[in-house]
């Protein structure tokens, strides 16, 4: 069997295992073990164990649980709901204002959370019931919520960018800064769409229960200010380079825990235990996928699959934008079956040499890739945000959520195209603040 055929067979068996319900980490690990034993016998397992263990021996990796801790502390508190309520009151005269408030609150909350799921949970917990109560159609309500929450992985801090930075040895701070403008641009596109759709299809978008006085509009601002200051401080720490990502993550996590304790009374033992428990649960899931993906990658390299696939793609002699289009399709297909963290570790050894040889900026590509992962969070069967929305509203079918999210998926695709045409959207800010890319 040629390495290329083997690569296809490996992809197919991985997809089958995941679809029948094998957890992603064990599917990656199981296929890797099968490959190694088939190729090298049981002796191949010992270096594999080394690869698995050493994939976790990286200090920067501690940013993952610490940023998760910050996001979980904020998402278990009413902070996300308060941000949504505050923005909702400001927008009470706007058509589709409730949906727009959800989108804007998701953007703001994304700067506290490093995952799409935490953002979705924090904003949707109260946002979704209110949208349904105010007669928004299920598709309009859930689609916007699931899609806006994907901004959690584009707007810094972002878990996928941390893993991309570690895997490719890129500056995580620079990646975070690169995601900032595209994140705000995407928010703007989402808001514009929601506004236009609300005017065009009035029947699918309800209204507000009542108007709000100026006092009511300002009432929740004091509660949001500490979090906005925290977000600004985190972003400043990244671009100024005063501290490393783990250090920023630790200080931000402690600050966030203090804020929720003081503002929302979450200082009791059971509150702190709940924050730690949920953070551990999410961190373990991510860390074991990182380890299993490193193992999978190790097995592929031993069989020479990444090089063969990279050469096969290079032999197509595609023009630069043809290559980017092909990589985007590859990322989209992988996103149907694998979570973003696994895709980065599995595909980067194939993709990165091609990108660098073609002269693309890896920071720009980090943003394009993350936009692709945002689509992955919205596509079944593994789209994490779909699962969170189903958790919040079990009576709504996955198909309805995907139908509602479709316009937003098209907007994400539009932004990918826009970034290909004007790469400066991602590269200008880091170039201005941090100098040219090394």
């Amino acid at each position: 069997m040629t390495p290329l055929m083997l690569g296809l067979a490996v992809s197919a068996s991985l997809a089958v295992l995941i679809v029948i319900g094998v957890p992603v980490a064990f599917a990656l690990g199981g296929v890797a073990i099968g490959l190694l034993v088939w190729h090298e016998g049981l002796a191949g397992l010992m270096p594999a164990a080394d690869a698995l263990v050493s994939s976790l021996e990286d200090f920067t990796l501690v940013s993952v649980p610490l940023f998760i801790l910050m996001g979980v502390a904020a998402s278990l508190s009413p902070a996300g709901g308060d941000m949504r309520e505050m923005i909702k009151r400001w927008l009470h005269k706007m058509p589709g204002g409730l949906v727009v408030a959800n989108i804007c609150a998701s953007t703001l909350f994304s700067a506290l959370s490093s995952t799409g799921a935490a953002t979705c949970l924090a904003v949707g917990r109260e946002g979704l019931p209110e949208l349904r109560e105010r007669r928004y159609s299920d598709a309009a309500a859930t689609g916007a919520l699931a899609a806006a929450a994907t901004l959690g992985i584009l707007i810094p801090p972002s878990l996928t960018m941390i893993v991309y930075g570690i895997a490719g040895d890129f500056s995580i701070a620079r990646l975070f800064v690169a995601g900032l403008l595209p994140g705000l641009a995407l928010t703007l596109l989402f808001v514009l769409w929601a506004f236009v759709a609300a005017r065009r299809w009035k029947g699918r978008f309800g209204g507000f229960a009542r108007g709000y006085t100026r006092g009511e509009m300002m009432m929740l601002v004091p509660r949001a200010v500490p979090f906005i200051v925290l977000v600004a401080a985190v972003i400043y720490a990244f671009w100024s380079g005063i501290a490393s990502p783990p250090e920023v993550a630790a200080v931000a996590a402690v600050a966030c825990i203090i804020f929720v304790a003081v503002l929302y009374g979450m200082w009791r033992e059971r509150d702190l235990v709940a924050i730690l428990r949920e953070s551990t649960r999410e961190s373990v899931a991510v860390l074991i996928i990182i380890a299993a993906a490193a193992l999978f990658d190790f097995a592929l390299v031993r069989l020479g699959i990444p090089d063969t696939v990279a050469v096969a793609i290079a032999d197509l002699r595609l023009p630069p934008f043809g290559l980017i289009a092909l990589l985007n399709v590859l990322l989209f297909v992988a996103g149907l079956f694998l979570p973003p963290v696994a895709i980065i570790l599995v595909l980067l050894p194939i993709i990165l040499p091609l990108l660098l040889a073609t002269g693309f900026d890896p920071y720009w590509f980090g943003v394009v890739m993350t936009l692709n992962f945002q689509i992955a969070l919205l596509t079944p069967p593994v789209g994490a945000n779909l699962h969170v929305v189903r958790h919040l509203a079990p009576d709504i079918r996955t198909g309805t959520i995907v139908r509602g999210a479709l316009p937003y998926i098209f907007l994400i695709v539009a932004e990918i195209v826009l970034l290909c045409v004007i790469p400066e959207i991602a590269t200008w800010l880091p170039d201005q603040l941090m100098g040219p890319a090394p």
Binding site: G30, G34, L45, V53, P65, L66, P246, E247, R277, V388
Partner: protein
Amino acid sequence: MNALIRTVTAISRFFAGIAAAMVATSLVLVCQMVVMEYALGVPAPWPSEIVSYLMMGVAFFGTPYVFATGGHVAIGLFTHRPGRIRGAIVVLVSLGFAMAFTVTGVALLAKAVSEGWKADDAAWMALWIPYLSFPLGAALLALQCLAELAAIVSGRESTAGDAADAAGFPD
């Protein structure tokens, strides 16, 4: 059968508690690094090395419990009750993964002990201590898979999720 699954899940839960303590310890250690470096001006390299070994412990000690009971967005291993044949395939693949790394983990541990591996910056720490989490976590995962397999073969439904609920860890 239920008692077996409950016992295994309780052990996994205990190790998940250790994983949580390791997350908290990492937070404290990194904060201590920040204070030492920025407030006192005396950076110490050893906490960063300890923290990276703690990440290993978090992943390996936490995995059996988190995957047995399903995270809030993760696809749960035993809580989706996907039917006997599909369930058996899911458990067997996971069991293969766990068994392979229990054996190689013990071999790695033995090598670390016999060759006297030490950490670099935190040279006072023998490396077998962090490496212990690897075979232990894998063995516990294998045990969880075996208990589940026994439940599937005997035609009973998994109670891992129920055991977790009873222990106050709802999905």
